[in-house]
């Protein structure tokens, strides 16, 4: 099993005809992802990559039964595309766009409040259930089916952790990038809850960064409820204060934001904290033995 997406997921790509949407939809189809529709306003009625195009998401969902949305439209238009998907009732929305204005996301969060929807991203590598379904931009070939759930703010650190796990023959149930922005759709806690309910996930890897406290809140919940080993790394031990380290949300504003402070707290909450980014795979191996 897996969380959020599997081989039955029917994926619609908003922005399918764009350079990124096109390339990554094709890549994801190679591992079996069912891309059933594309939305590009003005190109409705045409086909792209053998998939029908629609002007609106409403038509796409009505005609194809799509139930997962991958949003590849440029940042200035992303908020509108997300709200379109929320409005129609799509429950898994993956937002790859990097650079959405934060106040747009504040409005999106308000719009989604009280609705049964998981918004992954923005600024995320996406979601992948190996050999079943991918909605995102990660290199699918490094991901292998298995029992480890991976959730990270960073895309490339997700890849790094997965590659290290291969040395120990550890595959993944589902991998989730929640994104590096200040205001993100879903958070670590929501993803950990989903992994708890997945019988095929035996352990979870959480890869955080400097800034904010959501890793700590997730670890506190995990201590009481997860019931599976939690391995955690926090990037940015060497990050200077007050500088935004690439990700909008990765900034040390106060003492509690530092990687050391966060790792200490998470360790006290009983998670397997790994301080060396090269030893994530080894830590997972030890945690599941």
């Amino acid at each position: 099993m897996s969380i959020f997406i599997n081989k039955s997921s029917r994926v619609v790509i908003q922005g399918l005809t764009g350079q990124h949407g096109s390339f990554h939809a094709e890549e994801s189809m190679k591992i079996g992802t069912q891309v059933v529709a594309g939305v590009t306003p003005g190109k409705g009625g045409a086909q792209h990559l053998g998939v029908p195009l629609f002007d609106t998401l409403y038509e796409a969902v009505a005609k194809t039964g799509a139930d997962v949305a991958g949003i590849f439209v440029p940042p200035p238009f992303a908020a509108d595309a997300i709200m379109e998907a929320i409005d129609i009732g799509i429950r898994i929305i993956v937002v790859v766009a990097d650079g959405i204005p934060v106040q747009d996301m504040v409005r999106v969060k308000r719009y989604s409040a009280g609705r049964d929807v998981v918004i992954v991203g923005p600024n995320t590598p996406g979601l992948i259930t190996p050999n079943e379904c991918k909605v995102g931009i990660m290199p699918a070939h490094i991901y292998k089916p298995g029992k480890i759930g991976v959730v990270s703010r960073s895309g490339t650190l997700n890849y790094e952790a997965v590659e290290q796990m291969a040395d120990y023959k550890l595959g993944q149930s589902t991998c989730v990038g929640i994104g590096g922005d200040t205001v993100t759709g879903t958070d670590f806690l929501t993803v950990l809850r989903a992994f708890k309910d997945d019988p095929d996930t035996e352990a979870v890897v959480m890869i955080g960064e400097i800034g904010g406290s959501q890793e700590i809140e997730a670890a506190a919940w995990a201590k009481e409820h997860l019931g599976k080993p939690l391995v955690c790394f926090i990037a940015g031990i060497t990050a200077p204060a007050r500088r935004r380290m690439g990700h909008a949300g990765a900034v040390i504003a106060g003492p509690a934001d530092t990687a050391s402070a966060k790792m200490e707290q998470i360790e006290a909450l009983g998670a397997h904290v790994v301080r060396n980014p090269s030893k994530i795979g080894e830590a997972v191996h030890r945690a599941v033995q």
Binding site: H20, P75, P76, G99, I100, P101, V102, Q103, D104, M105, V106, R107, K109, R110, P125, I137, M138, P139, I142, S152, S154, G155, T156, L157, Y159, E160, E163, Q164, G180, T182, V183, I207, E209, G212, S213, F233, A235, G236, I237, T238, A239, P240, R242, R243, M245, G246, H247, A248, G249, A250, A253, G254, P255, A256, A259, R275, N276, P277, S278, K279
Partner: protein, 395 residues
């Protein structure tokens, strides 16, 4: 993006936020003219740099006459000001803000942020001005009130009254306080700000409310739709290497160490720095080449990293997803040839097109240290800074 205090106050004034009478001056002569125009008998002269801690660093001074304004301006302007946030080299002061000084009855802290927890624009208020808000939040959390704003309806009057009451503002000042807070909220929302700090917000002896200091930060992702804000950017306040990197679509932050870093992805870039530190080295920079990096972009990354003369070795760490290792490798080869790189270069490639990438490096005939994983890469780069790695060099 940050702006200066005088720019923030100009912007706030447009929204009806009360700020002290005053104007910016770029020279002693202009300062004198501003002081004469103000025509008061007490002035504050404030150095205009982005870094905080100006008061303690000697960048804020009182003056009682136009002549004194001349004197203190001359002491501040045209030289570096060292504060807790500038580093030991200080920040060069090119202009000062001359304002009418006021008699303060009481001070408070008023801020607006995008709060991670509520995921909304949120007021942060604390009684007592000039506070270190992070410190207060830790040691006396009960002094801080957080009031999130629902984006569907905006900041409401009752919320402002609640905040004012927390700040012990009442009576005749209550209504102006509500007006001021709503003006600050509009100023924040309409300009895609991510931070407003009024510290202190003052109640004067004659009963007025004033934003005595003003700090604003803006969302880099929204600058494209705020050209009037983008015009306020002051490149003199930024590291020239960082400015140039930004122009090439690279995210670069200068640091103190000697291992230059070229990495894709912010998370991996931070982890690479961390791995260097675990091997007792020090990163010279943070650099994220981003997704879809062309050979040209990689060449530019090398050039910027090597502008830092402390760099004794370069570590390239790429885990390609959206990127392609062969393009990265071409960029590395081009950079080595064009820039005649003399420091050791450690390369770790993984992910999309990794075999093609390694082939490009091997066929170039250039000397690299190749690493198979993050740990080895960091260890090799740190060793290379001491010159001990040359025995491992291979063609």
């Amino acid at each position: 993006m940050n702006i200066h205090e005088f720019q923030a106050k100009d912007l706030m004034r447009q929204y009806g936020v009360p700020v002290p009478a005053g104007s910016v001056a770029h020279s002693v002569e202009q300062a004198e003219a501003v002081a004469e125009e103000l025509g008061v008998n007490r002035f504050v002269v404030k150095a205009q740099i982005h870094a905080g801690g100006r008061g303690k660093g000697g960048g804020v001074k009182l003056a009682h006459t136009v002549e004194e304004v001349r004197t203190v301006t001359d002491e501040i302007i045209g030289r570096p000001l060292i504060t807790a946030q500038t580093g030991p080299q200080g920040q060069f002061v090119r202009r000062v803000l001359i304002e009418q000084a006021v008699d303060i009855a009481r001070e408070a802290y008023f801020g607006l942020v995008i709060d991670r927890t509520t995921q909304r624009i949120t007021i942060i208020a604390c009684d007592g001005g000039g506070v270190e808000i992070e410190e207060t939040a830790r040691h006396e959390p009960e002094r801080i009130l957080r009031e999130p704003v629902d984006p569907a309806v905006g900041l409401l009057d009752f919320q402002c009254r609640k905040v004012a009451t927390h700040l012990k503002i009442s009576g005749k000042q209550l209504s102006p306080a509500v007006k001021m807070m709503k003006a600050l909220y509009r100023c924040f929302r309409d300009n895609d700000a991510v931070l407003i700090e009024v510290n202190p917000l003052a109640v004067t002896l004659d009963g007025r409310l004033l934003a005595l200091d003003a700090k604003m930060q803006f969302d880099d992702n929204a600058i494209y739709r705020r050209p009037h804000i983008s015009n306020l950017r002051d490149f003199d306040e930024e590291d020239p290497k960082e400015v140039e990197a930004g122009a090439h679509g690279l995210n670069y932050i200068a640091l103190e160490g000697n291992v230059g870093c070229i990495v894709n992805g912010a998370g991996l870039a931070m982890a690479t720095m961390d791995a260097i530190a675990l091997h007792d080295g020090q990163p010279a920079n943070f650099l994220d080449v981003g997704g879809g990096a062309s050979p040209e972009k990689v060449t530019n990354a090398f050039r910027i990293v090597l502008l830092d003369k402390n760099v004794k070795a370069v570590l390239v760490n790429i885990f390609a997803g959206i990127n392609r290792c062969d393009w990265i490798a071409e960029g590395i080869v081009r950079a080595m040839r064009e820039l005649k790189v003399t420091v050791p270069v450690v390369v770790r490639l993984a992910g999309t097109n990794v075999e093609q990438g390694r082939a490009v490096l091997a066929q170039s005939g250039l000397k690299f240290l190749t690493a198979n994983n993050l740990d080895d890469a960091a260890a090799m780069a740190v060793r290379a800074t001491s010159g001990a790695a040359h025995e491992h060099l291979h063609k």
